[in-house]
């Protein structure tokens, strides 16, 4: 029974890629506007940079149901659905690219800025002739590196909209994959996955790479060749950057540092939570006044209902927290030896890197139906999906971390006749430590994002394909399905609070400690 046609799959791919493309264009426009503004205006900088930091560190996927409810409330049509998918992809690309533009413009050599400040050069000419060209290589670079993340969001959001018939995405490769899977058409499913892979490979290795080579000419300063040519090194430096900014350690200029330090003081925390609560309140009110039949409560929830909901949310958070950390343990056990082992052998490294890159760019949610077919243990399915969402961050970071070390460090082993066991203990593992920690920070962040798909997965009807006993992802998914805005909001906010607190209290210290103790700088 072949109910699929390759043409339709191709059409679905075209839909998905169009969404990605629009999101990318929007991200670039946004990044140019906001990035240049932040780089050239001290006051704007003090607001924008910390905000971008926060946006980067929250699990955007969790907000998706809220976004889709909101957008559809305003534009109740297919366009609204598409718009929210695009908006979600946008959020996975925009902050990172904006940081890139901000840094690029910020690091334009001072002579050029002075040249552009000559009387007959207007600000428009300054932007088009200096700021934009200076940003191009970073835009391309950051696009290249965040594309896999964007793809993850694309597939997830296409899948997530399937829950309710009132707002579904009708075309898209994610839709195709799930539709085939739920119709038990595994031939179609396999073809869709393969098509997705082919599209990823073509896009990654043909377009983005060419694009990257073209953008080289826009660089002010030449980077060391190795860094420039090795895609993994690009990925790594982006990763490190991202994880650092995730920790709010971002400090490129004094203004920003000053702002960040006050920003995160306790009383400002209260101020900002009031703003957030106000925004939620307004959202509730708006929803109520429109009186739309999509689950907005028509009255403000009582304190008692908030407290009892929050109690459930905290329990499910605890479940998810434990789940993520035990899966993380497995990721470390596999990822660290794999990453170090591959990097120590140049032939293995050259041969395996493109393969690993390709495998890693397959979004885990697309594989979920196939995994659920093999096992019906909800806990196991969730663990596998989280594992796939996390492992590559650790492998890539460890690989790039080891490769960035000078060859002399590895000659030590031969010169001093160090045994294999001791070399791992005294050289390789400590040498990989800083890269491992930044990889872990990003990996754990990514894990929270996968939860919403991994813990509860429903296609149509009322029986989910897979579900766990309890978890924050399940809570969010269920709340979305039932239109329970209170649970949804509390779940998303509590998860965000936990992640941000954990980053500040635990990761930040671990990161500081490892960079102080284990960073290799001669």
């Amino acid at each position: 029974m072949t109910s699929f046609s390759l043409f339709e799959i191709f059409l679905d791919l075209a839909y998905s890629w169009t969404r990605m493309f629009i999101a990318l264009l929007l991200s670039i426009l946004f990044s140019l506007t906001v990035g240049i503004l932040a780089a050239r205006n001290k006051r704007a900088e003090a607001v924008i940079v910390p905000l971008l930091d926060v946006f980067q560190s929250i699990p955007i996927l969790g907000f998706f149901p809220i976004v889709i409810l909101g957008v559809i409330a305003i534009i109740p049509s297919q366009i609204g659905v598409d718009l929210s998918v695009i908006l979600l992809i946008f959020t996975s690309l925009a902050w990172n690219i904006t940081f890139g533009v901000y840094e690029a413009v910020k690091s334009i050599p001072h002579d050029y800025i002075e040249l552009s400040l000559m009387p007959d050069v207007g600000s428009w000419r300054r932007i088009t002739n200096l700021y934009i060209p200076a940003s191009i290589s970073r835009i391309v670079y950051n696009t290249e590196t965040s594309w896999a993340v964007g793809l993850f969001y694309l597939i997830s959001s296409e899948i997530l909209t399937l829950g309710k018939s009132s707002y579904t995405v009708t075309h898209g490769i994610g839709v195709a994959i799930i539709t085939f899977a739920s119709a038990n058409d595994w031939t179609g499913y396999t073809y869709s996955i393969i098509s997705l892979l082919v599209a990823v490979v073509i896009w990654q290795f043909v377009f983005l790479r060419e694009f990257a080579l073209w953008s080289e000419r826009y660089k002010f300063v030449e980077e060391p060749r190795g860094v420039r040519q090795d895609p993994l090194m690009r990925f790594y430096s982006w990763m490190t950057h991202k994880s650092i900014s995730k920790l709010f350690l971002y400090s490129h200029s004094r203004g920003v540092t000053k702002f960040s330090s006050t920003f995160y003081r306790f009383k400002d925390g209260i101020k900002y939570s009031i703003v957030i609560l106000l925004a939620i309140f307004i959202a509730f009110e708006l929803g109520a006044s429109w009186n739309l039949n999509i689950g907005f409560p028509t009255q403000i929830p009582t304190l008692a209902s908030i407290l009892s909901t929050e109690k459930n949310v905290i329990v499910s958070l605890a479940y998810s927290f434990v789940r993520i950390w035990y899966v993380y343990f497995f990721c470390v056990m596999v990822g660290v030896p794999l990453g170090i082992g591959v990097s120590l052998n140049s032939k293995l490294y050259d041969g395996l890197t493109p393969v690993i890159e390709t495998i890693a760019s397959v979004p885990a949610p697309a594989l979920l139906p196939a995994i659920a077919l093999v096992t019906h243990q909800g806990e196991l399915v969730a663990a596998i999906i989280i594992f796939l969402g996390m492992i590559w961050y650790i492998v890539f970071n460890v690989m790039a971390g080891i490769r960035s070390l000078p060859a002399e460090l590895f000659e030590l082993r031969s010169v001093f006749h160090i045994s294999r066991v001791q070399a791992w203990r005294d050289i390789y593992l400590p040498a990989a430590a800083t890269a491992f920690v930044s990889g872990s920070i990003v990996a754990i962040g990514a894990a929270w994002n996968t939860l919403i798909v991994a813990e509860f997965f429903i296609v149509s009807g009322s029986t989910p394909i897979t579900q766990v006993h309890a978890g924050i992802g399940k809570t969010i998914a269920l709340a979305t399905n039932q239109g329970d805005l209170l649970s949804l909001t509390l779940a998303v906010l509590s998860m965000t609070a936990l992640i941000v607190t954990f980053n500040l209290v635990v990761w930040r210290r671990v990161y500081h400690y490892t960079t102080k103790r284990y960073a290799y700088n001669r």
Partner: protein, 291 residues
């Protein structure tokens, strides 16, 4: 005093060592050595017709072309040449870290095919383990010495740090040491092995001029003295002043593919004064070979 040899010059071993490695009377070559004049062993390190080619994208890239040289008992030998000519590659072949395309390197008569515990190395960028203290870094070199207990290793390493002038810095991490001190740890680490041959890869070029000058002043007597285990030192350096200050013999390499353009035996008495006119004469000799 100066022997300039053309591209096709080939070193013919004058003495074939007996297998038991006994000292043999050796007729010194034209450049009579100032340090060890009378009784000499065969060469401690004997580099015979080393060639090295890299394969890059199906192109053969010749790096070293037929390089021969020796280091005799108690000799401080320097290898110098234009940057990128393959000096460091040659040193790594001597260390047994890299394989030559053709040719052999012998240590006291036996061919070097892999790193040996009698040969220690000092690196340009120190290469200390940042996560280990100065003392632990020195002890690291003794890891493979199973005959020593952990306490003995600690004692040896402590003595070595004292020897290089770092008493009191045992428990300091490399990150907290200055460049000069880091290289002192590097030297202590190499000496702790009690090597017979010491290889140095641009040991002073990561240091600022002042620090490098001070360390250079100490290093010769630190390495070559009656109580030292070291029989020969081979240093790679592009700094002519440093080469003249330290070496008994200088091997000058050409541009890629590198071959030996000259071998200079420096007979200046030690300690050498960098400001003396004689010093400049020797520097000029080497510059004329490099040009």
């Amino acid at each position: 005093m100066t022997l300039i040899r053309g591209e096709n010059w080939r070193y013919v071993p004058m003495v074939v060592l007996s297998s038991n490695n006994a000292p043999i009377k050796f007729e010194a070559k034209a450049g009579q050595d100032s340090v060890s004049g009378q009784t000499l062993q065969g060469p401690v390190v004997d580099v015979e017709r080393i060639s090295l080619e890299f394969t890059k994208e199906r192109d053969q890239l010749p790096v070293l072309a037929d390089v021969s040289m020796t280091a005799l008992q108690d000799q401080f030998v320097s290898i110098t040449g234009p940057s990128g000519c393959g000096k460091s590659s040659l040193l790594r072949i001597i260390a047994g870290l890299h394989k030559a395309t053709s040719g052999t390197v012998k240590f006291n008569g036996t061919e070097i095919t892999q790193p040996r515990s009698e040969i220690a190395m000092i690196f340009q960028n120190f290469v200390l383990l940042p996560w280990r203290t100065a003392l632990e870094n020195v002890m690291f070199a003794l890891s493979s010495k199973r005959e020593y207990s952990e306490d003995e290793k600690r004692d040896k390493a402590t003595k070595m740090l004292d020897h290089v002038g770092l008493k009191g810095f045992e428990n300091v991490f490399p990150g907290e040491l200055s460049g000069g001190m880091k290289q002192r740890v590097g030297i202590a680490r190499a000496l702790a092995l009690e090597p017979e041959v010491l290889l140095m890869d641009e040991p002073f070029s990561s240091l600022d001029d002042l620090t490098a000058g001070l360390l250079r002043k100490e290093v010769y007597s630190l390495l070559i003295n009656p109580s030292s285990s070291i029989q020969a030192v081979i240093m790679v350096s592009h700094n002519v002043e440093e080469v003249v200050e330290l070496s008994d013999k200088v091997i000058v390499l050409s541009q890629r593919p590198a071959h030996v353009v000259g071998e200079v035996n420096i007979t200046l008495p030690r300690p050498r004064d960098r400001k003396s006119p004689d010093f400049y004469t020797w520097m000029d000799k080497i510059y004329s070979l490099l040009a």
